[in-house]
């Protein structure tokens, strides 16, 4: 039959055939517009089962193209790039290494461990290679930005969010250079470029690094609701936004800020810790608990009734979770610190040390004694504080300064009974030798 048709007719027949075949293809394959239930059958199925790349996070067209162009050679290419990266790192070719990092990630945009490893590499390993603090900070920023980018491409994954928060919080707030880093976070050292403000890419509003970190931890928790993280116990992972607020408040004290801002920070920290984190539900082996549960008798009863565990076992479970997250200490600490007079105690101790540094011995002694008196009251009212290293050491440190002042003025060691806060001193005397070493390094031997 075909043979009897003219060329024109045959062409027409083919065309109709093509169109007919296209119809199902089009029906099945219409791409989704992004709205729920839009697109063809395939797009809907993809959405239903979370199979599209776009469900993993923002899709980078370059990356998608690269992977397409490489056909099946992606693994080989990544291997080569990783070897190159290591070599460039060994030879301290930082610029090239940064570029290679970018290429690796183009090929593996959804491989979480690659993001985490390379982000850490930039923020920790590379930054440590540089001598100038400004340069170190630059590479911490690079690492952070890299992780931010990673979380954008994998916005369902809680772990990269957590890493971003952790770098912003711990690397900036806790490394040896923390004093510089925290300042740089608000006023970038590249003043020419950022006009005396922060690097807006990581700190749009010019906030404290811990508060920015808190936002990222919160994002991690939100993502964790949908897809569980695999890096630590849930109770720890979920505590990070509140911990970040605690760290913020603590950092203000470390920097000698005892004003209303600091108090408010502690107030917020108490709220976050007890009312938000303390109310979070965690699934133990037998039942669902929250850390603040012992304070709610009927919640305890309900849980025991629902799961059939004994009160004893339930209390043990809650206690275990509280211990893991150091819950009771931070509850006590933040509760104590949110009061104005606690801030006054810390300020007295802090100022006592500052006055001692500038050799105002009288004023220093007065300030320390007043502070230590307050500190005794504090420790007596919050028993949970007496188990924490930093709380104990703060007290011991102040006592050592006081002793030093006494010694400088009287040329003899102070008699034991005159030591303020002697109860702490006697109880924790085993910590003194180590601490004394640090003290001597800083202020000279006695």
């Amino acid at each position: 039959m075909i043979e009897q048709l003219t060329l024109q007719q045959r062409k027409l027949a083919y065309l109709i055939g093509i169109v007919l075949l296209m119809l199902p293809v089009i029906l099945f394959g219409i791409p989704a517009t992004g709205e729920e239930g839009s697109g063809g059958k395939l797009a809907r199925l993809r959405q239903e089962h979370d199979l599209g790349e776009s469900t993993l996070g923002k899709v980078d067209p370059t990356s998608a193209t690269m992977n397409l162009v490489l056909l099946g050679m992606r693994g080989v290419a990544v291997n080569l790039l990783r070897m190159q990266l290591d070599e460039e790192k060994d030879q301290k070719q930082w610029a090239q290494m940064r570029a290679t990092t970018e290429s690796v990630i183009l090929l593996q945009p959804h491989y979480i461990q690659v993001w985490r490893y390379l982000g850490w590499n930039l923020a920790y390993n590379v930054s440590a290679e540089w001598d100038a603090v400004e340069d170190r900070y630059f590479w911490v920023k690079e690492g952070t930005k890299f992780l931010m980018q990673g979380s954008e491409r994998n916005n369902r994954d809680p772990e990269v969010y957590w890493d971003t928060g952790n770098t912003l919080g711990k690397k900036i707030g806790r490394s040896d250079e923390w004093k510089h880093f925290r300042k740089f976070f608000k006023v970038d050292p590249d003043t020419e470029r950022y006009k005396g403000g922060p690097d807006s890419e990581i700190n749009q509003a010019g906030n404290d690094n811990y508060l920015v970190a808190k936002d990222w931890f919160q994002k991690a928790n939100d993502a964790d609701e949908k897809r569980a993280q695999h890096i630590m116990m849930d109770v720890l992972f979920r505590s990070y936004p509140a911990r970040s607020q605690l760290d913020y408040a603590d950092a203000l004290h470390r920097e000698g800020q005892f004003d209303e801002t600091a108090r408010k920070a502690w107030d917020g920290a108490y709220h976050d810790w007890v009312e938000v984190f303390g109310q979070m539900r965690f699934q133990t082996g037998d039942c669902e608990i929250f850390l603040e549960m012992p304070a709610f008798e009927n919640a305890m009863d309900q849980t025991m009734a629902a799961s059939g565990v004994t009160r004893d076992k339930l209390e043990r479970e809650i206690n275990l979770y509280q211990n893991v997250s150091n819950y009771r200490y931070w509850r006590a600490k933040s509760h104590a610190e949110k009061h104005v007079n606690t801030a006054a105690v810390h300020r007295d101790l802090y100022e006592g040390e500052q006055l001692f540094k500038v050799n105002e011995l009288d004023a220093a002694q007065e300030s320390l004694e007043s502070g230590l008196k307050g500190y005794k009251v504090l420790l007596d009212s919050y028993k949970d504080l007496t188990v924490d290293d930093s709380a104990i050491e703060e007290g011991l440190w102040a006592i050592m300064i006081w002793q030093k002042i006494y010694q400088l003025r009287n040329q003899v060691q102070p008699p034991e009974e005159e030591i303020p806060l002697r109860s702490l001193w006697d109880k924790e005397i085993h910590r003194v030798p180590n601490l004394q070493q640090d003290f001597n390094r800083k202020y000279g031997p006695s």
Partner: protein, 572 residues
């Protein structure tokens, strides 16, 4: 990156080349004579001699016009066969390259990435095109018999080989030049420009395209504007390197400093706060008013030290003949950046012995004649010391140099482009020669192998040949692989092992020959100089590459000529 290459000694190179070339020609000639004698009796050598005579005749009666005719044909062929589509790929890469490059980095690092990217792209796009063109040209001519029409004209076979090489070189010159210019413009666009309002339009353009490394603007007292020095963000430094020896913490001379555990053994470290120092000696000829010193030392800390302050470094100018030691003011180093210091002709310093400030003349008092075997000339000796105790300062010979006035970026960049072209000429020579005696695919493989080995595997080959690489030759390493035998274990002393090692020795000597025949092609790649902000040195890089290209071109033409002459073109 190391720029530490020995200066290129043309005469030694030429002598070695003549020896090798002459040696090979001699061996091949005598072998041919002997074989001919063996097979054809006395008429054999006569025939060989007549061939040689004819060859001499052909090489002395070259016609530039005919060579050019072949070259022209080659160029036309490349053009009409759409070889220049490579530009489309290049344009495509350049359009999207910005995606891969980080614009957050420090400007000099951005320049570095952009320049290496542009030059690497030019290199690796040009090479495959030229490789394929040159390896397939002659075999394709023979296959379709268009070469028959050519050789039945009064064309010498060497003219065909030379014409082909010249033609492909011209094609590559065009490709490389156009890509180079586009890449240059692209590099300029990648780097943020200085918008110094006091610059004139012309000055701004000069800075932008790298024609001038810097422009000084005089003070304007009327409007109360100070004198400024605006420098381009891209320039090429002109370093003068010295020699380096170390002094250890006890004050004894050492060739190396301390290894602080760096995997890369390029730099050696000196300990701060001790007698340890790094002693650089720079050859000095003419006095100048001011010396500009530049360094790129690395810091290694064993304790945090004072956070926020970098290591302190001090230069001491030393004249051992007068027992004169002139310490210069210390400065904080900035790692992975330029550390610039200036020394004026008149140097004032505080003399510990005189307890007073003293002034000396840099050239009269400090430059001395060094008796060292390797130097034997006037030098300026500078000792580098680290002042922080417990901290270490790392350096290599090339980390500290006297910086002459900068060259323009334009010049350096195009020297690197020229280097790429030279490499393509080299590849074309090898490719065309190979294609005179084997077919296209084989020639391509052969040339590609030379390229890959010359680019990347030389170090490994040298290690293998010198025995530095553990695990023995090919057979031994196979044996060890199969028997799961660690390369630190000694092999049993048996006859089998001796035979195995004997075979390995033969194989390795083959490798030895290969390693000596295949040149170090990495010296053609000059982009690291420019990317790191250095000028491409004429002697060390340019002449070396040029000499290498010519050195290989001559035997290539000779081999190509004889294999085309002695080949029955009709026989396939």
């Amino acid at each position: 990156m190391t720029f530490d290459r020995d200066p290129f000694a043309l005469l030694t190179g030429l002598r070695d080349w003549l020896l090798v070339f002459g040696g090979f020609v001699g061996i091949i000639f005598s072998a041919t004579i002997l074989v001919a004698l063996g097979i054809y009796g006395t008429s054999g050598p006569v025939a060989v001699m007549s061939r040689v005579w004819q060859g001499l005749h052909d090489f002395t009666h070259l016609s530039p016009k005919r060579i050019w005719a072949i070259s022209r044909l080659t160029i036309l062929e490349a053009w009409r066969r759409k070889a220049l589509w490579v530009f489309a790929v290049f344009a495509f890469l350049m359009m999207f390259a910005g995606w891969f490059l980080d614009s957050e980095l420090r400007v000099d690092m951005q320049v570095k990435n952009a320049v290496s990217f542009a030059l690497t792209t030019v290199l690796w796009l040009t090479i495959p095109v030229l490789l394929l063109l040159s390896c397939w040209g002659i075999p394709e001519d023979i296959r379709v018999r268009s070469l028959h029409t050519v050789v039945t004209k009064p064309v010498r076979r060497n003219e065909i080989v030379m014409g082909r090489i010249l033609g492909f070189s011209a094609v590559s010159a065009t490709i490389v030049a156009i890509m180079g210019v586009v890449g240059y413009v692209w590099v300029l666009r990648q780097v943020p420009e200085d918008h110094q309002p006091r610059l004139s339009g012309w000055n701004r353009l000069c800075l932008a395209v790298g024609l001038l490394p810097n422009i000084s603007i005089e003070a304007d007292p009327k409007n109360d504007l100070p004198a400024i020095d605006v420098s381009a963000k891209k320039f090429c430094r002109m370093p003068v390197y010295g020699t380096l020896e170390f002094v250890d913490r006890e004050g004894a001379i050492a060739t190396k400093g301390i290894n602080t555990g760096d995997i890369w053994e390029f730099r050696s470290y000196i300990e701060g706060g001790t007698k340890a120092s790094a002693r650089y000696k720079f050859a000095v000829n003419d006095p100048v008013d001011q010396l500009k010193l530049e360094s790129r030392f690395e810091a290694f800390r064993t304790h945090k030290g004072r956070i926020g302050q970098s290591l302190l470094v001090r230069y001491v100018l030393v004249n051992p003949t007068k027992s004169l030691r002139v310490p210069l003011p210390s400065f904080e180093i900035k790692e992975f950046s330029l550390n610039e210091q200036f020394i004026n002709r008149e140097v004032s310093y505080y003399d510990e012995d005189l307890k007073d400030t003293r002034t000396v003349d840099l050239f009269k008092d400090l430059v001395y004649f060094d008796e060292d075997e390797k130097l034997k000339r006037n030098v300026l000796q500078i000792e580098v010391q680290c002042l922080d105790s417990g901290q270490y300062l790392g350096m290599a010979r090339t980390d500290f140099f006297i910086r002459l006035p900068d060259r323009s970026f334009l010049m350096g960049y195009f020297k690197a482009v020229f280097g790429i072209w030279l490499l393509t000429v080299f590849i074309v020579s090898i490719g065309v020669t190979a294609s005179t005696f084997v077919k296209g695919p084989v020639a391509t493989m052969l040339t590609f192998s030379v390229l890959i080995v010359g680019q990347g595997f030389r170090d490994f080959m040298i290690k293998l040949v010198t025995g530095e690489q553990k695990g023995g030759g090919p057979i031994e390493s196979w044996y060890r692989l199969v028997t799961h035998m660690n390369d630190t274990l000694a092999l049993p002393d048996t006859v089998g092992v001796q035979i195995m090692q004997g075979i390995d020795k033969v194989l390795l000597s083959g490798l030895w020959l290969t390693q000596h025949l295949i040149p170090d092609l990495s010296s053609f790649v000059m982009s690291p100089y420019v990317a790191n902000g250095f000028d491409v040195p004429w002697g060390m890089a340019m002449f070396r590459s040029l000499a290498m290209t010519i050195g290989y071109l001559i035997p290539c033409v000779l081999i190509g000529y004889y294999s085309l002459t002695l080949r029955e073109l009709e026989a396939k």
